[in-house]
């Protein structure tokens, strides 16, 4: 048997490792191994690709381009992932997600250009390419904006202007129309400068991604990142159709499905529809820090009352059960250690402390668990929304947005109707 025939089998093994990896993530015990199994599958697939017949026709040029690209991209990714702080994790995920989207868009562009400039291309392949290009480019620029907002490079507030929905619709419509035009041209119905049309679609898709994410406020970024994650998955699947590569289709579709489920779960947990998050007027975090009153004034004119873990503990020590409901503000202010301090003080006085974790508290779904785990809060103290709701009549509630931090400027302590901060 020819060695090349083994490559698709290697890809199959990789696809299986991806499924196992995702399955492993369903429990904290198996998650670490699951992730590593998937990584091993990825390594195997990349190694096998070096022996691909098509890849080998590129000769030394392809080898140099690939090796250099793997080295540069791999070390950049490794460095970024190692040095980033735990609290900056969401924007790193946005960044890597955007990189994947950009790569999918470029793959579609390159394969389509090869077809258009000589090798010939079918209308069906053109449609797949245009889908990969559009979805990938939207994911790329959208993730870049999401990164900018989370990193504080762009204002995290919702960016609104008059006629915004018209602009967004025009960008979207133009992108779709030009793609159809290009497909019609490939089918031989009309004659247009094909490469120029393709470039125009790429440009429109990039602008559309920016227009889509700019109006969304920082507190809603979890949903957006999840959605863009699903987008990138679909772009990868589309690229798989273009290249006739089943592994890309499987992996991309798995991610597309997971991102879709997550996005739906999150929107549901916020009592909002996905459309409402994307196009609704609630993009900006509502004023939530003002009701406490106090001496200080925040940048945007709302009041801030500063306190320390000791003071707060003294006040709360009269309670027997304390439920801490940490929210977006804690994640932004990185106050997880202060909260842990508060809980330690309370526990030393015999108070029973648990944490009520809303599914989308923090800046990403489940982000709050990661933050609190970083501050060494025991996993058993973290309770899901459903599990903790019956506890509330017994507990003194407290939104963990103060504890001496600047976090109360734009907080949404929690989003469920039953667990708003006291």
């Amino acid at each position: 048997m020819d060695l090349h025939a083994l490559i698709p089998l290697t890809y199959l093994i990789a696809a299986v490792t991806f499924v196992l990896g995702l399955k492993g993530l369903s429990g904290p015990k198996t998650a670490v191994n699951g992730n590593r199994i998937a990584a091993a599958g990825m390594l195997l697939a990349v190694a096998a690709t070096f022996f691909d017949i098509e890849f080998q026709t590129y000769g030394v040029t392809g080898l140099i381009v690939t090796a250099a690209g793997l080295l540069v991209g791999g070390s950049a990714g490794f460095y970024g992932a190692r040095v980033v702080k735990m609290t900056a994790m969401p924007q790193m995920i946005a960044l890597f997600n955007g990189a994947g989207g950009g790569a999918a868009a470029l793959v579609s562009i390159l394969e389509l250009s090869r077809g258009l400039t000589g090798a010939g291309v079918m209308p069906g392949e053109t449609i797949s390419s245009m889908l990969g290009l559009m979805i990938g480019a939207v994911s790329f620029s959208g993730s870049a904006v999401a990164f900018g907002k989370l990193q504080g490079l762009i204002t995290p507030k919702a960016f609104k202007y008059s006629g915004q929905q018209i602009v967004t619709s025009v960008l979207f419509g133009g992108m779709i129309l030009l793609s159809l035009l290009l497909t019609a041209s490939v089918a031989g119905w009309v004659a247009v400068p094909q490469l120029a049309v393709m470039a125009a679609v790429a440009g429109l898709a990039l602008l559309f991604g920016v227009a889509l994410v700019m109006p969304i406020g920082g507190a809603d970024m979890p949903v957006v990142i999840s959605l863009l994650n699903a987008f990138t998955g679909l772009a990868v699947a589309a690229a798989g159709f273009v290249l006739g590569n089943q592994l890309l289709i499987v992996a991309g579709t798995l991610v597309g499905a997971s991102g879709t489920i997550l996005t739906r779960l999150m929107s549901k947990a916020m009592n909002r529809s996905i459309a409402n998050v994307l196009f609704g007027a609630f993009g900006a975090a509502p004023a939530a820090g003002a009701e406490t009153g106090g001496a200080m004034r925040a940048d945007d004119g709302r009041t801030v009352r500063a306190t320390t873990a000791e003071d707060a503990a003294t006040l709360l020590a009269y309670a027997r059960n304390v439920i801490i409901v940490p929210g977006y503000g804690l994640a932004v202010a990185q106050a997880q250690h202060n909260v842990r301090e508060l809980a330690d003080l309370l526990e030393s006085r015999g108070v029973n402390v648990v944490y009520a974790i809303h599914p989308v508290a923090g800046r990403m779904p489940g982000h709050m668990n990661v933050l609190l785990a970083e501050a060494n809060v025991p996993y058993e103290k973290l309770m899901d929304m459903e599990a903790v709701n019956p506890e509330f009549p017994r507990g003194a509630r407290r939104a963990a947005r103060s504890t001496g931090c600047r976090s109360s400027t734009s907080t949404r302590p929690s989003r469920s109707s039953s667990s708003s901060g006291a």
Binding site: V19, A104, V236, L254, V370, Y379
Partner: protein, 102 residues
Amino acid sequence: MSSEAIVGLYVFVLAIFVGFEVISKVPSTLHTPLMSGANAIHGIIVIGAMLVSAAIGGPLGLALGFFAVVLGAANVVGGFVVTDRMLAMFKQKPGQKPGSRT
């Protein structure tokens, strides 16, 4: 429709079901690592990037191919390393069973 496209569609549709089945069981406490892990998995686009890396000659084509590989590789490596770090946070409590809830 070519048979290759049909096979692709079969794979696509079945993968949707597998994805929904596998993922709908993940507890919400692990949603961020799941998103991060899924993020790493779509980095498989790096092999697509390799397969078109030198598909078009000339400086522009090669530059685009190079960038595609760079972006894909950053996605793969960064995604897996971030996920691993994140999961390590859940592990570092000795003597406790992370799976159980009080």
